[in-house]
């Protein structure tokens, strides 16, 4: 309970930091170029006839939502944790009464607000400029979308935290993290909508954890899922979140036991 009472102050502190260094976040938007390249090619292909049920408008809607959702749920903390562990700065966080995970979570949450506020205007313009209806904006869908985003963010954060915990034993954790990002971007619906994979593969991908951070929220927002499908996939995602949380806890416990920096 004490943790909750500390959060407002923690968030305020990290918010000021995020607002001060906002130029850094502009660079993170460049990450959206690859999916937009894919979008252009799909749109080119769909001009004559739909590709596997996707019209050009569908592609535009899907990728716009994917770029937005990626900024909502995407997390990149591995490099920072790695630096803290290698330089020994982590010790400073360890002697504080609050677990180090809360510092990172507060930072991730506040960074989100800065990026999303930058993205909303361009996406709104694009949505209005492209003819046709791309998003399902009923209150029930939006609520489900919000829930899916929250689960996706939790999954992303915990998965990154788990990976970052590997820095207690290996030096090239950021390399591992880069490989993970790659796999996740491709199999998680950021680069290609999952429905466009060959049939057996696309139904298998629904059961993997990668779908929770981008594919699920996007498919909900673009109105491609029935209520039952959304519920089932949300449950699958939540189960993965629980599993990853346990894994992250085990890794960090073992890691902190082995951690031998100056002053630890």
């Amino acid at each position: 309970m004490r943790v909750i009472s500390i959060y407002p102050a923690l968030l305020r502190a990290y918010w000021e930091r995020a607002a001060a260094y906002r130029a850094v976040f502009v660079v993170s938007l460049l990450n959206a170029i690859f999916p937009l390249v894919m979008m252009s090619i799909w749109i080119g292909m769909a001009q004559d006839e739909p590709v596997a049920g996707f019209t050009a408008t569908d592609f535009a809607g899907y990728y716009l939502a994917a770029v937005l959702v990626r900024r909502v749920t995407g997390v990149g903390i591995v490099q920072d944790v790695e630096r803290l562990v290698r330089s020994g700065e982590l010790s400073v966080y360890l002697i504080r009464p609050l677990h180090v995970i809360h510092h990172f979570f507060a930072r991730v949450l506040t960074g989100r607000v800065v990026v999303i506020s930058m993205l909303l205007a361009p996406i709104a313009i694009a949505v209005l400029a492209i003819p046709g209806r791309q998003f399902d904006l009923q209150p029930a869908t939006l609520a489900l979308f919000g829930l899916a985003c929250a689960v996706g963010l939790l999954f992303e954060f915990l998965a990154q935290f788990l990976l970052a915990g590997l820095s207690f034993w290996i030096i090239q954790t950021s390399g591992v993290a880069a490989a993970y990002q790659f796999v996740k971007a491709f199999l998680g619906g950021y680069i290609v909508p999952l429905a466009l994979f060959p049939a057996p593969l696309s139904s298998a991908l629904m059961w993997l954890p990668f779908q929770s951070s981008v594919a699920l929220p996007v498919e909900i927002l673009t109105g491609r899922l029935s209520a039952e499908q959304s519920a089932l996939r949300l449950i699958v995602s939540a189960a993965w979140v629980a599993l990853i949380a346990l894994g992250a806890r085990a890794v960090w416990r073992a890691g902190l036991r082995d951690y031998g920096a100056v002053g630890a």
Binding site: A23, V24, S40, M45, G175, A178, F186, V192, F197
Partner: protein
């Protein structure tokens, strides 16, 4: 004439020395070679996988068959390997040197500042991109049962070199920018981001994107145009335009460097 030759020989010797130095430093971390190769292979797997996905829905895209597109993908890997291995480490060094004032040590040397600052350090392990790219191109040609003639190879190599020169000049322009705006975090991401467009043939994009990447920001010259040269369906006008673009950008970057250096007030003065 003799003097020009002497200068060229001196710069070539310097270049060899820089490469040797970097290689020795790289060899200290041998595992990095395996790591970089692994990353390139993974990247290639996705690039080919992405292309396979497109082609599982259509037989040709923008007039390009799957194996023809693989040549473009291969050239993309060559270009990004070149940027990773040569331009990125130097860009990093210049940003750091301008910030700390260590740039002075480069400027007082009796060598051209642009040459020294942009070609000083290499990361040879990142050349894995070149290896992967060349393999893809070879595989595609084999599958196409295509044996390009001498003229086609010559055009391919000339345009490929021009493409690398274009990329070099773009990066050098960015590096020159670092003298004015010191705190540009990750500015090289801009070039890498734009380069993503070169992953696929320019004709696969719908207008107006296609026009932009073939004429305004000539990123199509990095992969699409050399691939067309190899396939023997190059339009001479477009090739000429690419060569001119590369030449103009190189000249522009040299001028930008002269301007940046002459207006540079070091951290100590």
């Amino acid at each position: 004439m003799r003097k020009a030759l002497q200068t060229a020989a001196r710069y070539a010797a310097l270049l060899r020395l820089f490469a040797q130095n970097s290689l020795l430093a790289n060899l200290e971390y041998r595992v990095n070679f395996a790591g970089a190769l692994l990353m390139s292979l993974l990247d290639a797997l996705w690039a080919v996988g992405g292309a396979l996905l497109f082609y599982s829905h259509r037989a040709t895209i923008g007039g390009w068959s799957f194996h023809e597109t693989l040549i473009v993908v291969g050239l993309f890997f060559v270009a990004s390997g070149f940027l990773d291995a040569i331009m990125q480490p130097n860009l990093r060094d210049v940003i750091e040197a301008v910030r700390t004032g260590a740039m002075d040590y480069t400027l007082i040397r009796p060598v051209d500042a642009m040459f020294h600052a942009t070609l000083r350090r290499y990361r040879f392990e990142k050349l894995s991109g070149l290896l992967v790219g060349a393999t893809l191109i070879g595989y595609a040609l084999f599958q196409l049962r295509l044996w390009p003639g001498l003229g086609q190879w010559a055009a391919f190599i000339a345009l490929g070199v021009a493409a690398l020169a274009l990329l070099y000049a773009l990066m050098a322009l960015l590096i020159a920018l670092c003298f004015r705006v010191v705190d540009i975090a990750n500015i090289e991401e801009l070039v890498f981001g734009v380069l993503e467009v070169a992953r696929f043939p320019a004709q696969a994009f719908p207008e107006p994107v296609r026009g932009v990447i073939s004429l305004v920001i000539p990123i199509a010259f990095v992969s699409t145009v050399p691939a067309e040269a190899l396939l023997g369906r190059l339009t001479p006008a477009l090739a000429l335009y690419g060569l001119v673009c590369a030449g103009v950008t190189v000249l522009l970057s040299a001028r930008a460097w002269r301007a940046a250096v002459s207006s540079y007030t070091s951290a100590s003065s």
